[in-house]
Symmetry: C2
Subunit: 263 residues, 2 copies
């Protein structure tokens, strides 16, 4: 038996999310079907994180066990033939049998992209949250630093309790105005290094794990900071309230990207 | 009676093209419906050029006559409410009654974008032609200069004869490798000024008019030049043959953008 690890990018616009759902096509189903067509055998593909309907991935990680002797590079090339063109396998490698895409993950990086511009862009409607009022990205960045550390994040969790604990460790929060929307693979993997003049506000967040809708709730809470309605003290107040109704709205799914998973 | 001129951008992915067709939704129908909802009256909206299924526009121009007294800026804002989010009206102005979006056009600029990279990008599948073998954009640019001038372009016309004449005047052909795919409105209107290191090859072409599939046939003919199979002499040979079978294939629609119309 071999254990195969995949790094996958996908445009989540036309999916109900990563996980199999009764109400529409899932990325997991598409990947499992492609593996079955290639190897002739059903595979159960586990991922680092479920992504919701409309959420994208640049570096989702998935793993499955197989008896197939196909070399890794052969897997990568052949899977393309069986996958729809909104899903791509970026990397295939063989890993020890005890590697588990979900439970072996040490930390994940998500990105959220806001198109902060008066003009709606029809080409980006599935890839950004269009927000037309001016946002102060520097204020958002500074307030976001208050989230760093080990906290109970239930104020940012939809439908609490979902998991045994809502304590998570946020390691990094970066908010930067950028000139571009990160749609080019490879370049898109890079974190922004400095503020730029431009219409896009990127939020990058790294944590050991994320609660349900946590990134989107954080974005929906930092946007009022960018509007001057809240500041860093409000973020501390919301965090310590441990009450979802204290935080901002859940930002729409289409601006969200799972960028990278560390093991 | 007033004559209203619209500048429209749209993502053509989900449309059968500009013009009303029996087999699916058209951009024209969407715009006419939005005007009817706003003014209460049916409008016949004429455009600078039909775009085919899957072809995009950054600066399509359309015009219609109306008795409505709504000011131009009011039209622009209100049409947004009634248009789907893959169509946007960028500009509205009142023009003399003898202005006709189709017949008053003096020249048009189209752009074709090739993603010239070994890795298919799932986010760009509707916005570029993915071509994975290396292309020599400088050779394509040089050969493309042979198309400039007044010629019979029937070698680049699908289903000739479509129009009274297939003589057109091509004023400019620019092929440049670029770092980015031009999806940001405003910036996307700019022509590339120099070669860059990057994965995108843009072809810009200006002419007094275009035959059916002409830009896509020109792209499909310059790509073999970029591969070293043909050169500028072949372009002259193909042009003078006045035979569609001498030229290259018709490139796919999704890389094509109507950028600008001059009146």
């Amino acid at each position: 038996m071999r254990n195969i690890r995949l790094t996958i990018a996908y445009d989540g616009s036309n999916y109900v999310g990563w996980q199999v759902q009764p109400n529409g096509p899932s990325v997991q189903t598409a990947v499992e079907k492609a593996i079955q067509k290639l190897t002739g055998l059903k595979a159960n593909v586990l991922s680092a994180g479920r992504t919701d309907s409309g959420v994208h991935a640049l570096g989702q990680v998935a793993s499955f066990q197989t008896e197939s002797s196909i070399p890794c590079e052969g897997f990568r090339k052949a899977l393309h033939k069986f996958l729809p063109d909104d899903i791509i396998v970026r990397d295939v490698r063989e890993v020890p049998l005890d590697f588990h895409a979900t439970f072996s993950a040490v930390q994940k990086r998500y990105r959220y992209v806001i198109h902060n511009c008066r003009t709606h862009n029809p080409f980006l409607r599935n890839y950004v949250w269009h927000f037309h009022q001016d946002l102060d990205s520097t204020a958002m960045h500074e307030a976001g630093q208050k989230l760093i550390g080990t906290h109970d994040f239930r104020s940012f969790e939809s439908h609490w309790p979902n998991k045994a604990t809502s304590v998570r460790t946020v390691k990094e929060v970066i908010v930067r105005r950028q000139k571009f929307c990160p749609l080019w693979l490879g370049e898109a993997d890079q974190q922004p290094t400095a503020e730029e003049a431009g219409d896009f506000v990127w939020l990058e967040i790294v944590a050991d794990g994320f609660l349900y809708n946590m990134v989107r709730a954080i974005v929906g809470t930092l946007v009022p900071v960018g509007r001057g309605r809240w500041n860093g003290d409000d973020i501390v107040r919301i965090l310590t309230a441990m009450d979802r109704s204290e935080a901002g709205d859940t930002a729409p799914p289409n601006g969200l990207y799972l960028v990278h998973v560390d093991y």
